[in-house]
């Protein structure tokens, strides 16, 4: 091929598209290689039953950082915030909603605890403020705490000042919350068990740990970055469809002249003399490029695509020990209608409904994963995309996405995720939903089950981790994906990592790709 190609981007998810657009806008010739038949990566919806669409890997929308949108002049899709972003099932047909209007939430909570109702507005305001501090960190490369470069010192000072700007009390609280467990965080403030359980579940999202684990305070804040004020879960959704964010990035990328090849799986990254020379495709075809930016996860990239002889054994050791630990299974349901008289407030349908009203139940579900077992009573959360976007289902019909934890990738005694185990878990999830929402099962036309093993096989996610690496404190910011490699440039000249396995990680739309691409540009000029 004679066409000019400066950079190859592996993966056409949000990060890959953001990276490609960033590079192309700087005048580079960019080719994006996507192994699936369509773009979108983890945000891509699939037709899991005739006429029914959903993205098993992205039950909720992420946060698109304003700095990215500004930098790329991206037309940001319109966001809709449901009045009730989180609801918890108390008993069959009985629910406690948490409207993001904190006065309304306090009213709902008062039924269970007057003290908690009083504490709620201050709590949501505080965690919102602290998540806002993270939002700032997530729109620039991770601080480089250990180097001595002047630029980094200035960056650190800036962060220090921003932290102090939170005010004395909130700064101290931030430092306290980040390493602590989400359970302690809530126990300190609330009595109402269903409230604590519902909120705490946000701290263990896609994590192979329970709410007593240190660092779940951080995970809770991470998933609140970009959320509406008063909300304790999720960031609302794109008005124009589940893939509105990738559609916008895709349009931008194409407008800037990016070449996107789907159905094009990269099998190897080619290296000569410690420098990248291109990629080899699964077909055997080789594409030359002096820079390759991968949005696959760090293990898939460094262990799966690069010949290990080019990598320091210490580095390989570190990558092999990244904690992926996929533990989330997803069941997609096609419903012929919503069950009637469920007791679920209509306004809750557009948000997340948690089926776990006790902290101990959440903890026990996590206990199983410690021993390589699937939870007997998994923690299940459901969302109904068809309420948000009627187009994802045939008229009048509905889609339900149920996320179930814990379904560990690694099972005890080397057992595998065979058909029987998958169906058994799906049955358990169905039963749990049917208990909380009576009549649910009668409405199910079809269901599709995704275990971590499926995520690995179908999406190339190491250990089926939707996170590209757990959001534990030793794997975030300047520690992501591994210490020493937190700034997108990998140890081979011309190789960059720009997927969710890099800072700022999952749920922040396109940010890692965008920041990685900026690193590419910086290195090209120097």
């Amino acid at each position: 091929m004679s066409e000019r190609r400066d950079v190859i981007v592996i993966g056409a998810g949000a990060n890959g598209l953001a990276a490609a657009a960033t590079l192309a806008r700087a005048g580079l010739a960019v080719t994006v290689l996507e192994r699936s038949p369509a773009i979108g990566g983890l945000r891509r919806t699939v037709e899991f039953a005739p006429g029914f669409h959903a993205a098993p890997t992205a039950a909720t929308s992420g946060w698109l950082p304003p700095a990215l949108a500004r930098d790329l002049s991206l037309s940001v899709p319109v966001r809709t915030v449901p009045d009730i972003s989180l609801t918890v099932a108390l008993a069959p047909g009985d629910f406690l909603p948490f409207p993001h209007d904190s006065r309304l939430a306090a009213d709902a909570i008062r039924r269970h605890s007057v003290r908690d109702a009083a504490a709620w507005p201050a709590f949501t305001a505080q965690v919102g403020k602290l998540a806002g501090f993270l939002a700032d960190l997530y729109q620039r490369p991770a601080p480089d705490v250990a180097t001595t470069g002047l630029r980094d010192v200035a960056g650190l000072l800036r962060i220090g000042l921003r932290l102090r700007a939170l005010g004395r009390a909130d700064m101290a609280e931030f430092l306290r919350i980040v390493p602590m467990s989400v359970r302690e965080l809530l126990d300190d403030r609330f009595d109402c068990e269903p409230l604590k359980a519902a909120v705490a579940a946000g701290g263990v999202r896609d994590l192979c740990q329970g709410p007593r684990a240190g660092g779940t305070g951080f995970v809770f804040l991470h998933h609140l970055v970009g959320a509406a004020p008063g909300s304790v879960r999720d960031r609302g959704y794109w008005r124009d469809g589940p893939e509105a964010d990738v559609a916008a990035l895709d349009a931008l990328a194409r407008r800037t002249g990016v070449t996107i090849r789907t159905d094009t799986a990269v099998s190897r990254i080619l290296v000569h003399d410690d420098a990248v020379t291109g990629v080899a495709l699964a077909t055997g075809e080789e594409l030359a490029a002096t820079q390759v930016l991968s949005t696959a996860d760090p293990a898939a990239t460094l262990l799966g695509m690069v010949d290990p002889v080019w990598l320091d054994p210490e580095l390989v050791h570190a990558v092999r020990h990244i904690k992926f630990r996929g533990a989330t299974a997803v069941v997609l349901y096609a419903l012929d209608a919503l069950p009637e008289r469920t007791g679920l407030p209509a306004a809750s349908l557009a948000g997340v409904v948690s089926l776990t009203p006790q902290l101990d139940a959440l903890e026990r579900a996590a206990d199983a994963a410690k021993y390589g077992d699937v939870s007997e009573h998994p923690h299940v959360e459901i969302v109904m995309p068809s309420v948000r976007w009627p187009a994802v289902a045939p008229a009048g019909k509905h889609v339900v996405i149920a996320r179930a934890q814990y379904a560990p990738y690694r099972l005890k005694n080397g057992e595998t995720w065979d058909g029987a185990r998958r169906e058994a878990l799906a049955d358990r999830v169905s039963h749990l939903i049917d208990t909380a929402v009576p009549g649910f099962l009668d409405r199910v036309l079809h269901r599709a089950m995704f275990t971590p093993a499926d995520f690995e096989a179908r999406y190339g996610l190491t250990e089926g981790a939707l996170t590209h690496g757990e959001l534990t404190l030793d794997q975030v910011l300047f520690m992501r994906p591994i210490p020493g490699l937190a700034h997108y440039a990998m140890p081979l000249t011309g190789l960059y990592l720009g997927g969710a396995g890099a800072h700022p990680g999952p749920g922040v739309v396109g940010a890692a790709g965008w920041l990685a691409a900026r690193r590419v540009l910086r290195e090209r000029t120097t």
Binding site: V271, D274, L303, D307, P308, V309, W310, D312, P313, E314, L315, V316, H317, R320
Partner: protein, 398 residues
């Protein structure tokens, strides 16, 4: 309760010979420092007859599988792709920064089988280096016993019990043969800088092998020898020793404790043309940039040495065994390095030392001063940078 230290398969033979109970530790084994109270006779055997060393405590790994060459080639600094069957490579290996982890011999036993020896355990590093490769690494240290037969009469003795054509066995080559019907692998290698062989045998056949060699060697003055004698010989031969002359990068606490192959006089082992290996980038840079340190021989000036003692009214006192430690090296009153081993060479009649010096002072003939303690006082003796090895015997490779 088990004994604190392990004993080698030759222990039943060596133990009664250690007349002064001069034992020492070597890699968790109990081995003889010397069989006599002094190593003089054992050293003399190395250079005049044949000395027999029990070198079983060496760590030994057997590496097999389709990716064996790939693994070893990415591990060590020499080009393993060009190692023929029956060839032995002396080679260091490094971490990602190009700093020495260990050194040893790599033998290609057959097309798909290698044996790597090392001073320290390396199973973990081998396993880490083998990530993603189809290769089997076995620690055969305990089941493989090893003897070194070193000295001008080594071949003569071996020929009486081994039918193989030993004259055809070139330096750093090996053959599979027998000694009185005991299967052994014989390599033309050693740690003395003399004509010599190393014999590798299944631990269960260790004692018959010992007996055969001692019996066959008796008319030629074969002498069991210990570490003290070996130490003098290896200093004369300019061979480095891990944990004495350098530290493994895995154990160094500070950057100053790290050494690259270039800094240990092993630049010749860093193949410039070979494919990827650990430390490649750093070593290529160092080759271009130039090393910061050099590893040199020091010959201590006798008159200057004697004068230091005479000033105190004493006759010169020479070390009776090789020392291992640290002695500062100065030029014009400034410290430019440190010696790590030293001994009196009975053959060269010179007090020798092995030293790290800053590259600027590495030219042979450079005059330096070595710090010595003479009668409780620190003194400096004149010394001259001498090319290594101090002793380069024709018969070593003949």
């Amino acid at each position: 309760m088990p004994l604190v230290l392990k004993t080698t398969p030759f222990h039943p033979r060596t133990a009664p010979l250690v007349r002064a109970q001069t034992w020492r530790r070597w890699a968790g084994y109990q081995v003889a420092s010397a069989y006599d109270p002094h190593p003089d006779r054992e050293y003399a055997a190395i250079r005049n007859a044949a000395a027999l060393f029990d070198v079983s405590p060496l760590h030994k790994y057997r590496i097999t599988g389709p990716d064996a060459v790939r693994l070893l080639d990415r591990l060590v600094t020499r080009d393993v792709t060009r190692c023929a069957v029956g060839q032995v490579l002396y080679t260091p290996w490094c971490d990602g920064r190009g700093k020495m982890l260990d050194d040893g011999t790599l033998s290609r036993l057959d097309e798909g089988t290698f044996r790597l020896t090392s001073a320290e355990p390396n199973l973990r590093w081998l396993t880490m280096s083998a990530a993603g490769m189809d290769v089997t690494i076995e620690d055969v240290s305990e089941r493989t016993a090893a003897l070194a037969l070193q000295g001008p009469l080594a071949r003569t003795i071996l020929e009486t019990v081994c039918p193989a054509d030993l004259r055809a066995l070139r330096y750093f080559r090996l053959l599979h043969g027998t000694v009185r019907d005991i299967p052994v692998t014989i390599s033309r290698t050693g740690y003395t800088g003399d004509l010599g062989y190393e014999l590798w045998v299944n631990g269960e056949r260790a004692l018959p092998l010992w007996d055969a060699l001692v019996e066959a060697g008796a008319p030629y003055g074969i002498t069991p020898a210990g570490i003290w004698a070996l130490d003098i010989a290896r200093i004369e031969a300019g061979l480095v020793m891990l944990d004495v002359d350098y530290f493994s990068a895995h154990h160094a606490l500070i950057p100053d404790q790290l050494s690259s192959p270039f800094e240990l006089g092993l630049g010749w082992t860093v193949s410039p043309g070979k494919g990827p290996f650990t430390g490649r980038r750093a070593l290529h840079d160092e080759r271009t940039r130039g090393r910061a340190w050099a590893f040199v021989g020091l010959g201590i000036d006798w008159d200057s040495f004697e004068r230091l003692y005479r000033q105190r009214g004493l006759p010169p006192q020479l070390p009776t065994v090789a020392w291992r430690g640290s002695a500062p090296v100065h030029v014009d009153g400034r410290q430019v390095g440190y010696a790590t081993s030293g001994c009196w060479s009975p053959l060269l009649k010179t007090y020798l030392a092995l030293a790290h010096v800053r590259a600027a002072h590495a030219q042979p003939g450079t005059g330096v001063q070595l710090e010595l303690t003479v009668e409780h006082r620190r003194q400096r003796a004149d010394a001259v940078v001498t090319p290594l090895p101090f002793l380069d015997l024709e018969r070593k490779r003949a």
